[in-house]
């Protein structure tokens, strides 16, 4: 059983300590993500979603609990993890071309030049940007920039792909396209995806499961299974009664989280 678990978060707690004031952001988070799963995390704003994601990414020290990726405890950014940040404009290196951005982590991995070129071309192709390799990120639209960030992440061939509200800053149409891109890539590459969002519809549309978080200090309010067919599209899936039902349920959960409702202490 344990080798089908890609990401294991057990009793995660995070308190920001500063002189005279401690802020308890995450109290006790426990969940597991199986290999190849696509799980969304949704919660009211200020629920510590970004804190959680930065902890999982190994960018923040934990105050308690443990995170294991492929059985190994995460104490620093692990090799098998790639992150797509919300601020695409700030996470791509503006002095590198699109190719340079995708290639840089591969260079650090020690891949040979030919292998790098092949992977870069493949990744850019997969996100629909085969002709933009020589452009600089700032020459592209926001949606395209986020595609580049996704290309960089998949070229890195992570076992878990973390996405931190990646589409929060793009327009609605681009957003729909990018959501479908994530579904397509996930199915094609078999990568495990943990997708953090504040958008309830997005979480239901994308995920196989939706973890609803409480407000601060954060715990998991409910683990909602999304029993929608695997083939989803923006029109039929979003208008199906089942989608509406799950969406309503998640919506109510988030509303109750906002009111400060918390699960019974086990």
């Amino acid at each position: 059983m344990s080798d089908t678990i890609a990401l294991d978060v057990a009793g995660l707690a995070k308190t920001y300590r500063s002189p005279g004031r401690d802020v308890e952001a995450v109290r006790d988070l426990t969940f597991q993500i199986r290999r190849g799963e696509l799980v969304c995390i949704v919660g009211p704003s200020g629920a510590g979603k970004t804190t959680l994601l930065r902890c999982i990414a190994g960018l923040l020290d934990l105050s308690g609990g443990q995170i294991r990726l492929d059985g190994t405890a995460v104490t620093e950014p692990p090799a098998g993890m790639a992150v797509v940040f919300q601020e695409y404009g700030r996470s791509l290196f503006p002095w590198l071309t699109v190719r340079g951005n995708v290639e840089l982590p591969l260079k650090e991995k020690g891949l040979a030049k030919a292998a790098r070129a092949a992977k870069v071309a493949e990744a850019l192709d997969a996100v629909g940007l085969p002709d933009s390799a020589d452009a600089h990120p700032w020459q592209l639209s926001g949606g395209m920039q986020q595609r580049v960030a996704i290309a960089r992440a998949i070229a890195y061939e992570p076992s878990v792909l973390l996405m931190d509200e990646p589409f929060a800053a793009v327009d609605a149409q681009t957003r729909a396209d990018l959501e479908d891109l994530v579904r397509t890539l996930w199915k094609r590459l078999g990568v495990t995806v943990l997708f953090v969002t504040h958008d309830i519809d997005e979480s239901v549309y994308l995920g196989q499961r939706v973890l609803v978080l409480s407000n601060r200090p954060t715990v998991v309010l409910e683990d909602v299974p999304v029993d929608l067919p695997d083939d989803r599209d923006q029109l039929t899936t979003r208008s199906s009664p089942q989608f509406t039902k799950i969406r309503t349920h998640v919506y109510e959960l988030v509303q109750s989280a906002k009111r400060g409702e918390r699960p019974e202490v086990r």
């Binding site: 930065r54 990414a57 992150v83 940040f85 700030r90 996470s91 290196f93 982590p105 600089h136 700032w138």
Partner: protein, 261 residues
């Protein structure tokens, strides 16, 4: 830049200088003042003043000292600035001292440095130039490194970029616009200090020559020296811009793109 734009740009760049030279030429044409000779006299004096020997023994050594001091300042400034910018502790430790040294005008250091490094050799002059150029580069590097985007650094960390790659591809590239701003400031300080460092006890060098012409009342020659100094400044800043245009093209492009949005 399109080819058709080139003549227009050259015209714009040269327009004001041509007008100023013309003004100087005609205003000074009939001048009988000893200290204010006609420009035509100065122009005539130029080739006979700056022959092979002064080029070799005055101008080139001066320029070499300038470049030497400037490069030392660049290396030390960027290295120390990066270290200070990256470490909060180091920054807290250094900041008051840096503020103090920045406030000391570099020319007052000339006699002090000369005391330690000697009046006549190149060492004291290179040291003076280096010390004067250091502060703008150092302080701007600190500022540039400190204001690096957190998201970029997080990205570098999450993709496990090593120390060297992070330093080279992220920290230095990211702070290069600020470093360049400091380096540009330092270049003009360097030219000033090149001259000043030769005012005390040097008998050769571009700055020393100008002073000697002045003291021996060789006024047209003195003017040619001043003009040469100005031209040197123009050439250096053009070279600087050439390097800057190449390495900071991304920065300008990004800024323009942001402005359009």
């Amino acid at each position: 830049m399109k080819i058709s734009e080139l003549p227009r740009r050259v015209l714009i760049a040269l327009g004001l200088p041509v007008v100023l030279i013309a003004l100087w030429w005609f205003a000074s044409a009939g001048s009988t003042s000893f200290f204010w000779p006609p420009l035509s006299t100065i122009v005539e004096a130029f080739p006979e003043t700056w022959t092979a020997d002064p080029w070799l023994h005055d101008v080139l050594p001066s320029v070499a000292r300038l470049l030497g001091g400037y490069l030392i300042a660049l290396l030390v400034g960027v290295a120390a600035g990066t270290a200070i910018g990256r470490s909060r502790t180091l920054r807290a430790l250094c900041e008051p001292v840096l503020e103090f040294f920045r406030a000391v005008p570099p020319p007052v250091l000339v006699p002090v440095i000369a005391l330690f490094a000697g009046y006549t050799g190149s060492t004291s002059k290179v040291l003076t130039i280096a010390l004067g150029c250091l502060w703008p580069i150092l302080l701007n590097t600190v500022e540039g490194v400190r204001s690096l985007d957190e998201v970029l650094l997080d990205t570098a960390r999450s993709y496990r970029l090593g120390r060297v790659a992070t330093l080279w591809h992220v920290v230095l590239r990211g702070s290069s616009p600020r470093i360049a701003a400091g380096a540009r400031q330092s270049l003009s300080i360097g030219v000033i200090l090149m001259v000043i460092s030769e005012l005390f006890g040097a008998n050769r060098g571009l700055g020393a020559s100008i002073v000697q012409f002045q003291r021996s009342f060789a006024i047209p020659q003195m003017w040619t020296g001043i003009i040469l100094l100005g031209l040197l400044g123009v050439v250096l800043s053009a070279l600087f811009r050439l390097v800057e245009n190449r390495s900071l093209a991304w920065y300008r492009g990004q800024r323009d793109a942001e402005r359009e949005r």
